[in-house]
């Protein structure tokens, strides 16, 4: 995995953002964080992260909109996005894939599985 390019974590819930950041750091990844969809797009453009982990229920601009906009943007289109969707919300996962996400992880997050997904997408 390219250790120099960071993982972008987009999550409005402070507790979870904090926890996931710590865990990802612990796994040897550099993490930058955004709290809404607008900020996410801005950081994607600035830092070219290797993978984006995107919560879908976001303020200002939600995850689906941000995802679609990234797909329409020549510069951001190639950055893989993993949608973080709520447990048992089947419809959300389908939505996420339709919006152009590359993969999804359901909350509560199975962390080893998430790491494997990050690694796979970052390598591709």
């Amino acid at each position: 995995m390219n250790k120099s390019s960071p993982v972008l974590l987009v999550e409005d819930n402070e507790l979870n953002r904090d926890m996931l950041t710590r865990r990802l750091n612990r796994a040897g990844l550099t993490v930058i964080a955004a709290v809404d969809g607008e900020q996410a797009l801005k950081l994607m453009a600035e830092h070219a992260p290797s993978v984006v982990l995107m919560d879908m229920n976001l303020p200002v601009k939600d995850g689906w909109t941000a995802c679609r906009e990234a797909r329409d943007n020549e510069q951001l289109r190639h950055i893989p996005i993993i949608a973080l969707t709520a447990h048992a919300m089947e419809a959300d996962r389908i939505h996420a894939l339709e919006a152009g996400c590359d993969d999804f992880a359901t909350k509560p997050i199975d962390f080893p599985e998430l790491l494997a997904k990050i690694e796979k997408l970052a390598r591709a």
Binding site: L15, N16, D18, M19, L20, H87, A88, K107, P108
Partner: protein
């Protein structure tokens, strides 16, 4: 949203808060031995715990409108996800050095799993699936926090929980109370779980009480050994509360089955005693056993049966007894009735009653046989034949000789338990009974008189003579009787 998921929220949230309190206590004790990262992770985890408490509190007071519900569920999910994340991280980091903390974290994670499952639609199914009869549960564990945890889980679902900290204490509780299920920790100082299990299964009254053993480590061999020693089920620590509930439920059901079976057995035994007491004096063992094997047992009421009725009495006994001392009367009577009873039973007759020196017996009830009339006749012949011995004994003791007359009649009577619930007896009612008594009035000493209806039932070699028609009160038609003649076969 119905109230059912709320109830289940209460179930897991309580367990969750309890595990968090436990974890916090442990952390306070061990804080100094942890590195800085772990301490930070813990403080973040407890921050989540505080948030969780607030969020649960507000959801308990919130109105039930859908939007609030959805938002608070979303909040709750996020908080749980965070706590879970920290717990997983910490478990990886501290478990090797701090097994107690590791255990406590595992317990926390298990509870969160239940919360995740319980927070979704499956809550309804789950909460109904584990509801069971309230039971009396004995939880045996040397660690106080475990005892409290179990007591809390189980009393929430209506069980009565008593705890014991040692094996000795557990046995004492078993002596004093009727326990439905024993939850038994295997590893304890002093008398350990295996020994407690052994003693429970050796004890006659406790043997049927289901024992669920709890093992601290995932050691299957340990569990197999316990199951071979009589344990009914097992759980590994830290256990999932839903699983615990399910096993407790199964245990209680097992115990209830056993209790019902035991009750039924007691009733059967009582019935058997009653039947033996009711019939034993009048019937042969063989017939009593036959009756006991009939499932309908002994109910008040009866059925119409064709039977051969025998009535006998000693000629002139009343006059005779006036000249004898009371103890002589009783002695003579007992000798006579004793001998007659043996003969009647040997011929499978049912003695209905003794009326002074008179005997009323019936052939063909409660069990009907093909040769009822024939046996009655042979019985009467045997009784007359026995008189010689009885009189020889009477003579030897200076008592007078006696003679008996026997009447036989065949007809349909109602046979059954007649009386009240408190006092009933297997007896017979019907006109043929009275007819027999009238025939008996015409018997001379040493005679056997049988009615035409009995004669028609006989096959084989019998000789009769002295055909007579008797007028019997209550029926217009005369009763035809015959005197039986002794025939050398």
């Amino acid at each position: 949203m119905s109230s059912i998921p709320h109830q289940s929220t209460a179930l897991w949230s309580d367990a969750l808060l309890r595990t968090l309190i436990e974890l916090r206590q442990l952390f306070t004790q061990l804080e100094s031995s942890l590195d800085e990262t772990a301490r930070e992770d813990f403080s973040k985890l407890f921050e989540g715990a505080n948030r969780l408490e607030r969020s649960l509190e507000s959801s308990a007071h919130s109105s039930h409108d859908q939007l609030t519900d959805k938002t608070s569920r979303h909040d709750l999910m996020n908080v749980l996800a965070a706590i879970r994340g920290y717990a997983e991280m910490l478990q990886e980091d501290v478990s090797p050095d701090q097994p107690d903390l590791g255990d406590s974290l595992t317990r926390l994670l298990m509870t969160i799993q239940t919360a995740d499952a319980g927070g979704e639609s499956s809550a309804r199914v789950r909460s109904t699936a584990i509801s069971s009869d309230p039971g009396f549960i004995l939880a045996v564990d040397d660690r106080q926090e475990n005892r409290e945890l179990v007591a809390r889980y189980l009393s929430r679902s209506g069980h009565l929980v008593v705890t014991a900290a040692t094996g000795e204490e557990a046995l004492k509780t078993l002596e004093q109370a009727d326990v439905d299920v024993v939850l038994l920790d295997l590893v304890m100082p002093g008398m350990d779980g295996r020994e407690v299990l052994r003693r429970i299964k050796e004890h006659e009254d406790w043997r049927a009480t289901p024992v669920i053993v709890i093992s601290g480590h995932q050691d299957m061999e340990d569990i197999i050994e316990c199951i071979e020693a009589g344990a009914d089920d097992y759980l590994f620590k830290p256990f999932n509360p839903v699983l615990l509930q399910a096993r407790i439920k199964a245990g209680i059901e097992r115990k209830r089955w056993h209790d019902r079976e035991e009750l039924y057995r007691h009733q059967l035994e009582r019935n058997e005693k009653f039947i033996r007491a009711t019939f034993g004096r009048y019937l042969s063992d063989e017939i009593v056993t036959d009756i006991l094997e009939r499932p309908e047992g002994l109910e008040l009421g009866g059925d119409l049966r064709e039977v051969t009725i025998m009535m006998s009495d000693i000629r002139g006994f009343t006059t005779l007894s006036e000249h004898l001392a009371p103890d002589q009367v009783v002695k003579m009577l007992n000798r006579y009735l004793g001998t007659m009873t043996d003969i009647i039973m040997a011929h499978h007759g049912t003695i209905d009653e003794f009326l002074g020196d008179a005997i009323l017996a019936v052939f063909g009830a409660p069990l009907e046989r093909e040769d009822d009339a024939g046996r009655a006749v042979r019985c009467a012949q045997a009784m007359q034949a026995a008189m010689a011995d009885i009189n020889a004994e009477n003579r030897a003791e200076g008592l007078p000789e006696v003679q008996t007359g026997i009447a036989l009649n065949t007809g349909s009577v109602i046979a059954g338990n007649i009386g009240s619930e408190r006092r009933s007896k297997y007896g017979f009612v019907g006109h043929p009974m009275n007819v027999t008594s009238r025939i008996e009035d015409h018997c001379a000493g040493g005679e056997i008189l049988l009615s035409d209806s009995t004669l028609q039932k006989l096959d084989g070699l019998y000789a009769v003579t002295d055909r007579r028609s008797l007028k019997v009160k209550g029926i217009n038609q005369a009763v035809v009787v015959h005197r039986l003649v002794e025939v050398e076969l």
